[in-house]
């Protein structure tokens, strides 16, 4: 683990527009600081977040992923987060069965009022992923042949 001190994890956050995106906005308005490693992709709702996007993130070199939306009962669309929660239960189970490292996906509920929770979530996740090290295991698989294919396509 000592070799990971220089390692800057790449983390993508998939968040819903109404709660977590707004919560992260509040983190900004409150001028709370957090690590630069996380980049946010905005979705209308956690219900929109396709599990394939999470897989593609790891394939493309992400070391960790954050998925966050509204707390139960707070969904702007009533139940998108409940659907998402179920999908995540199943997805975690599939990944774990296949031996994918599910510690690298951090799920969370961050409301529009929880600016400081967002900062903590980012900082904690960055620390966790840093401790886990780069997700070389998955990226090694991704690099094989896949690069060729990608270039061809491009």
């Amino acid at each position: 683990m000592s070799s990971n001190t220089d390692f800057e994890p790449k983390i993508i956050a998939f968040v819903c527009n109404w709660c977590t995106y707004a919560g992260a906005d509040l983190t900004g308005t409150s001028r709370l600081k957090y690590a630069t490693n996380v980049k946010i992709v905005r979705f209308p709702c956690t219900g929109r977040i396709d599990f394939l996007l999470l897989l593609k993130s790891f394939a493309q070199g992400a070391d960790g992923v954050i998925v966050s939306g509204c707390h139960p009962n707070d969904c702007h669309y009533t139940s998108g987060n409940f659907h998402a929660r179920r999908r995540w239960i199943a997805f975690r189970s599939v990944l774990d069965l296949m031996g994918v490292d599910i510690r690298r996906i951090q799920y969370s509920w961050v409301s529009a009022a929880e600016g400081s929770k967002w900062a903590d979530l980012v900082n904690n996740t960055v620390a966790d992923i840093r401790a886990l090290g780069p997700y070389a295991e998955y990226q090694k698989v991704a690099d094989y042949l896949e690069k060729e294919g990608y270039n061809e396509e491009a």
Binding site: W18, D25, K33, I40, V41, G47, R48, Q60, N73
Partner: protein
Amino acid sequence: MSKIGVFICHCGENISATVDVERVAREIGGMEGVAHAIDYKYMCSDPGQTFIKEAVKKYGLDGVVVGACSPRMHEPTFRRACAEAGLNPYLCEMANLREHCSWVHEKSEETTEKAIDLVKMLVEKVKKNKPLDSIKVPVTKKALVIGGGIAGIQASLDIANTGHKVILVERDPSIGGHMSQLSETFPTLDCSQCILTPRMVEVAQHPNIKLYTYAELESLEGFIGNFKAKIRLKAKSVNYSTCTGCGACIQKCPVKKIPSEFNAGLGTRTAIYVPFPQAVPNKPVIDRVNCNYYKRGACKICEKTCQVGSIEWDKEDEIITEEVGAVVLATGFDVKGTDFFPEYGYGQYKDVLTGLQFERLASASGPTFGEIRRPSDGAVPKKIVFIACAGSRDPAKGIPYCSKICCMYTAKHAMLYQHKVHDGESTVFYMDIRAGGKNYEEFVRRAIEEDTVNYVRGRVARVYEKNGKLIVKGVDTLLGGEQVEIEADMVVLATAGVANCGSEQLAQKLHVSYDPYHFFAEAHPKLKPVETNTAGIYLAGACQAPKDIPETVGMASGAAVKVAALFSNDELVREPVVAVVNRLAPPLYSTCVGCFMCETACPYNAIEHEEIKGRDGSLIRNSARVNQGLCQGCGTCVAFCRSKSIDIQGYTNEQVYAEVMSLLND
């Protein structure tokens, strides 16, 4: 190849202080498909917007990315600018360089690199954006106001006076709310009833207002401009069209010992009752929980008394449906009871009161006709202690916020007490005196200086009863932490203002957000204080946070203007962020195979079955179709679709895929 224009904002120094904006513009300018990239001090300013408009024309841009603040702030601004320059507004996206980057990171290489990545991500997204047309929906020009306190009354009157219909729903048998319970109001000490009741009557008589008392919202479906509200009219057991409101039934009702809600439990009422003499409507309802007939099957004295035969024993709750275009939430607040305070006796001491109970004691229409008397023995208290911040500003009690009105009403209570009991002695224990407001500070000074109220800065640790007195043990923190012990005859707790009971359930029915204390959440703490995150639903008064009467009335008028503005057009333009099921050329017609998983997933019942038929009329396949009027654009269906046959405009699979890829492909 795309021709995308990128505009990086300094936001004064808000972004440029930590992000090297020039480098961002330079590097993005080198990206494939980017035709033009600049940075400027204030992109949202008039000259800033002009830069965008000119660039759209000059370079023939087919996409715009503005790297500035949160899209939740200025997306509409920049999209409008693009539209004015002739570019489809949905080809404009924002990269959040302020809230998600410059404000949360220190100035560093990494911060600038993150900013570049964020802009890149949106450039890649915009490349996949498609021009979209706004969806136009008709607006039902009728408003629903929930809650008939001063906020609901004011909002209803203001909307009604613009010429639009209003439906006002009140849970209790009368409108009036907490304001009708108050004795006098700060800072002028004018009688609350005197200023409120004329407005209550105006509501009842207004041709544009339909009042439903003793009614609650059952459910709300639909969306801005097109809500469908189901309202439960609770059975009053009295026929209002024949009842004359003579009150004979009330006189004769044998069940007389029910604690009166209006008097905050200090007085009693009958089972058939009008909450207070000035009630609107001034006709009784039967409280079925306490009525002898409903409890035991016998009595019916009121029926015998009623000369017009208005009692309806078998009346059942009725549910009506109203179509409305906007909703104003004005459900108000509640105060904690004395039983919330273990240290002040768990509510077991009769002479420990809440501020609201003291209002009733001080009110001329109250149980003691305005004389301050102890509930326990009816004696006039000679020594009275007021405890401010009872529960409020106390994280240990789960109420870290300031209830805002207590400092003022406590000063008023002490003043009223001194006016009524000339030889009385009053003490106020306070944490800070918060008297911000026109003539407020002067009012408190008057209490202290003219009415000689003894203000002690400190907390009260304990109140207990001994020999008919209430022993108040506190501390005076201004005099070196001296312990203070007062033998009082009455203690009044300025208990915390909290969200009204049922507010959480109501919020969930309406799909509006609420804060950790169950107060409804405004869309923006400063700039959108009366809107909620749900379009078409507005807030008025203390259901958003504790507030005093002037502020409540101001907010109610604000909400009314929002509703009037919405109703000023026949059609409402909606964002085209909706789901679409693909349609293809024959023989495929659509890749949708009609498993209808999306149908169970949709929270809005927006998925319809469509039979795709060939030229000969034979059924080719069943496919899903989205009702664009009902779809709210959550996209849950999209993530469920195995064959990717359904997609959501504005967040298409191609767009989000491109975003994710751009973040990782170096």
